[in-house]
Symmetry: C2
Subunit: 168 residues, 2 copies
DNA sequence: GGAGTGATACTCGGATATCTGGTGTCCGAGTTTTCGCGG
DNA sequence: CCGCGAAAACTCGGACACCAGATATCCGAGTATCACTCC
């Protein structure tokens, strides 16, 4: 079981966007440079976040991405599912209904025991990710990120962010 | 995030082996036919379970596989990790330490917030899988599998199982 | 008839192809800005 | 000087290659069985 690398990128990018002023945008190029990752590939994942309704795009020059709704209403699960897909990790193919001992499908009233157990574990995982929002992540950054980095980031972002009122 | 199909096969096969008499074995061919899956490919996963110490193999004619330890001491997580590998699904690549705002690595005393959150969710998933054993799964089968299938399975397995005392 | 021995058949184990999905890149559609022109 | 319009620049969005890992298969190593021979 392996989670796409894009999930990490998406979570970090969403967190960065959440720390910007309301309505302010940041283009793919800036987000990619900030995280030191491929711009074109990051673009792919940002598109997935857009399709998932996590962020929204502003086209044209001085455009970019911004959150589609308040960071308090974006859970980690939202981001993970937008990029990785909502399908469960364990998919029961009902192999218990195959082979020489199988009978008509309608006779299997109760779901597969193994399927139930795996689904229960996965539900816990999802619930935990759903319980934490991007706003929670951002709130923790103040205490956990070195002061020096915070200052550097603040300065760098202020030079690349694009607000609605700003006129070049 | 996608769990290998072999995980499902491995869980079912381990459960079947757990329902056999002590020391009795079942060859790959029988396990594959019982579940209606590819024999050669199932073999690959059974090898993984062997390497993981879940089951053990008996070579030669009248050989096969059996549990390496009591079913009460085999958790679902053991089987999942034996086949899917023990690596965590989310791997933090520390992209926070890249880009124009990064400083020397030694300055990042506290772990990445996102990494912590993802790891916590994954820990819950693992704990849940660790809390349930193959013996628990087998115990539930009596109530959840149609009587008719239980009889068919009992008969079919008795014709393919190989006990230590049996002499052809 | 019983024991020993060689051939045999069956099993697991690892090495080898194939294929799907993640990884990575590029070019076109659309919009805002900007520059130039005319009034 | 101000308004209008066309061109341009920059953005996102989707379509197109590439590669690693899962999927699927085959053949060789090893062992218990079995048959045959000899005592």
């Amino acid at each position: 079981m392996k989670l796409s690398e894009g999930v990490e990128w998406g979570l970090h990018c969403t967190s960065v966007l959440a720390s910007l002023p309301t309505k302010a945008t940041l283009p793919t190029k800036a987000l990619a440079e900030y995280h030191g990752v491929s711009e074109t590939y990051l673009s792919k994942h940002l598109q997935a976040l857009t399709r998932g309704g996590i962020i929204e795009s502003v086209p044209g020059p001085r455009g970019g991405y911004r959150l589609a709704r308040p960071a308090t209403e974006i859970t980690l699960l939202d981001v993970v599912e937008a990029i990785d897909g909502p399908e469960p990790a364990f998919r029961c193919t009902e192999i218990r209904q195959q082979g020489p001992c199988a009978i008509e499908s309608s006779a299997y009233h109760l779901p597969c025991t193994i399927h139930v157990a795996m689904a229960r574990a996965e539900k816990l995982w999802r619930n935990e990710l759903r319980a934490q929002t991007i706003a929670d992540i951002v709130a923790q950054l103040d205490d956990r990120v070195p002061q020096r980095v915070q200052h550097l980031a603040e300065k760098w972002l202020s030079e690349h962010v694009r607000t609605a009122s700003e006129k070049a």
